[in-house]
C-alpha cells in the first residue's frame, strides 16, 4: 500500500496531466460528432457580453458598406412589393396566414476557418430565439441556431462538418444534402443528387422544402463544378455559396410557426 501511494505521489504530475488530457480529449472527440456543449459555448453571458462590446466598436468600421447592402436589399424588396398584386399583400399581412416569422440579429462573432464553425449572434431567449431556427443573410443561408442563452445565441454555420441541410436544384424537385468538406469557406458540397438529373455549371441551388427549418427556395449558391461519386450513381456537386461567409454583419432568423405541429405529426407517424 505504502509503495502504491509512493508511486502515485512520485508521478503525481503525470497523473494530473493524464487527467486533464483525458477531460479535454473527451470534450474534443464529443465535439466532432455530437451537439455543441450546452454549458461551454460562446452564447453565455460573459462571452456574449465581451463579444458584444468588441463588435460595438468594430461595427463602425464597415457601417458604410453595411448600409449600402441594406439599401440594395430594400430596393429589391420594394421591387417585389410593387410588382405583386394587391390582394396577396393584404393576405400576407394577416397573421393567421403567416407561416414564417422573421427576426433580425447582428453577428458578434464570426468564424469560418475551423472545421466546425459556430457564429454568435446578439439575440437570445428574451427576443424569442430558440433552438433550430434557420439563419439567413441578405444573400443566402448561414446556418441553424444551436444554443440559446437569455441574450445571445450560437449558430451552427453551413461551414461545419456536422451541418446537413436539405437543398435542391432550383426549378426541379431533385433534392440532396448540403455538407462541407472543410477545404474552402466559399464552397460547400451538395451530395445525393441522382445521376439522371441534367446539371449545368452555374445552376442555382436553393433550400428544399423537406425540412421545417428553412422555407423552400431560399438561395444557397451556384454549381461550380460536379462529378460522380465513387459508386457512379450520385453526383458530388461543389456549390459556390452566395453568402460571403467572411463578411457578415446583419442576419435574419426564421421561425416556422407550423413546426411544432409538423414535428408532433411526424413523431406519431413513426410510432
Amino acid at each position: 500500500m505504502q509503495r502504491i501511494i509512493n508511486f502515485v505521489l512520485r508521478y503525481r504530475n503525470a497523473f494530473l496531466y493524464a487527467f486533464f488530457a483525458f477531460i479535454s480529449l473527451v470534450m474534443t472527440i464529443r465535439s466532432h460528432s455530437y451537439h455543441q456543449s450546452k454549458f461551454f459555448n460562446s452564447s453565455k453571458w460573459v462571452t456574449g457580453s465581451i463579444y458584444g462590446t468588441g463588435s460595438d466598436v468594430s461595427s463602425y468600421f464597415n457601417l458604410q458598406e453595411e448600409n449600402h447592402r441594406l439599401v440594395e436589399e430594400n430596393q429589391q424588396l420594394r421591387k417585389l412589393l410593387f410588382n405583386t398584386p394587391d390582394d396577396t399583400i393584404t393576405n400576407s399581412l394577416d397573421s393567421t396566414l403567416v407561416v414564417y416569422e422573421v427576426l433580425s440579429a447582428k453577428l458578434i462573432k464570426n468564424s469560418f476557418n475551423s472545421p466546425r464553425n459556430y457564429v454568435t449572434i446578439n439575440k437570445g431567449k428574451n427576443d424569442g430565439v430558440h433552438q433550430d431556427m434557420g439563419v439567413i443573410t441578405t444573400d443566402g443561408i448561414l446556418g441553424i441556431v444551436e444554443n440559446v442563452s437569455n441574450n445571445f445565441s450560437t449558430v451552427q454555420s453551413v461551414l461545419n462538418t456536422k451541418s446537413n441541410i436539405n437543398a435542391k436544384i432550383k426549378g426541379t424537385e431533385y433534392f440532396g444534402s448540403l455538407i462541407w468538406d472543410t477545404k474552402d469557406y466559399t464552397v460547400a458540397q451538395l451530395i445525393d443528387i441522382p445521376r439522371l438529373v441534367p446539371l449545368v455549371v452555374g445552376d442555382t441551388i436553393v433550400t428544399g422544402g423537406m425540412s421545417s427549418i428553412f422555407p423552400e427556395n431560399v438561395p444557397v449558391g451556384v454549381i461550380k463544378k460536379y462529378d460522380l461519386n465513387a459508386s457512379q450513381s450520385f453526383y458530388n456537386i461543389d456549390v459556390e455559396l452566395f453568402s460571403d461567409m467572411a463578411n457578415i454583419k446583419n442576419v435574419y432568423l426564421l421561425e416556422n410557426k407550423d413546426k411544432q405541429e409538423i414535428k408532433e405529426l411526424e413523431a406519431i407517424t413513426i410510432e
Binding site: N13, A14, S24, Q36, S42, Y51, N113, Y185
Partner: protein, 168 residues
C-alpha cells in the same frame, strides 16, 4: 511573490482578450489566426509549482475554447505544453537549466527563440491534429501548423521583446 501572482492574473486576462477579440479575427491570407496566447507559457515563472501551472494552462486553454467554440482543443494543447515545458527547457538550455539560479537572463537569444519555436510547434501540432483528426488531411494539417506557427512565432518574439518580464 504577491506581485508575480497579480502579474500572471493580468497576463491571463489580457492574453485571453487579445486572443479572442483581435487575433482570432485576423484571418491573414484567409486562414491564419495566430495563437499568440502561447507566450504565456514562455513568460510563466520557471521554478513554479508544476501542478498549479498545468491547472492554469488548462483554464487558459478552456477559456479560449469557450470563446471560440472549439471545445477543449486549446485546453488539450496548452496542458500538454505545460506538462512537457521542463523537458523542452532542458533540451534548449542544456545543463544550465538544472542550476538553482537559472533564469532567462543568462541564456542566449538563439536559445530563447529555439525554445519559443518548439513550444509553438508542439502546441500547433497538437491543436490542428485534433481539430481535424484525420490522417487523410495530413497535408492540410501540416500546412496550417507551419503557416500559423510562423506567424505566431514572429508575433511572440515581438511581444517578448516589447514586454520583457522583470520577475524571472
Amino acid at each position: 511573490m504577491n506581485n508575480t501572482i497579480i502579474i500572471n492574473i493580468l497576463r491571463f486576462v489580457l492574453l485571453v482578450l487579445a486572443q479572442v477579440l483581435i487575433f482570432n479575427n485576423l484571418n491573414f491570407l484567409g486562414f491564419i489566426n495566430p495563437m499568440v496566447y502561447v507566450i504565456f507559457f514562455y513568460w510563466y515563472p520557471i521554478k513554479a509549482n508544476k501542478a498549479l501551472f498545468m491547472l492554469i494552462a488548462f483554464l487558459l486553454g478552456l477559456t479560449i475554447d469557450i470563446f471560440s467554440d472549439t471545445l477543449a482543443l486549446n485546453a488539450l494543447a496548452s496542458v500538454s505544453i505545460a506538462y512537457i515545458r521542463p523537458a523542452i527547457m532542458r533540451f534548449c538550455f542544456g545543463v544550465n537549466f538544472d542550476f538553482q539560479n537559472f533564469s532567462f537572463k543568462n541564456t542566449t537569444k538563439l536559445q530563447r527563440i529555439t525554445f519559443m519555436a518548439l513550444v509553438v510547434l508542439i502546441h500547433h501540432l497538437i491543436f490542428y491534429t485534433f481539430e481535424i483528426l484525420s490522417i487523410a488531411h495530413i497535408l492540410l494539417i501540416l500546412k496550417k501548423v507551419f503557416a500559423t506557427g510562423i506567424v505566431t512565432l514572429i508575433l511572440c518574439i515581438l511581444f517578448s521583446s516589447l514586454f520583457s518580464p522583470k520577475t524571472e
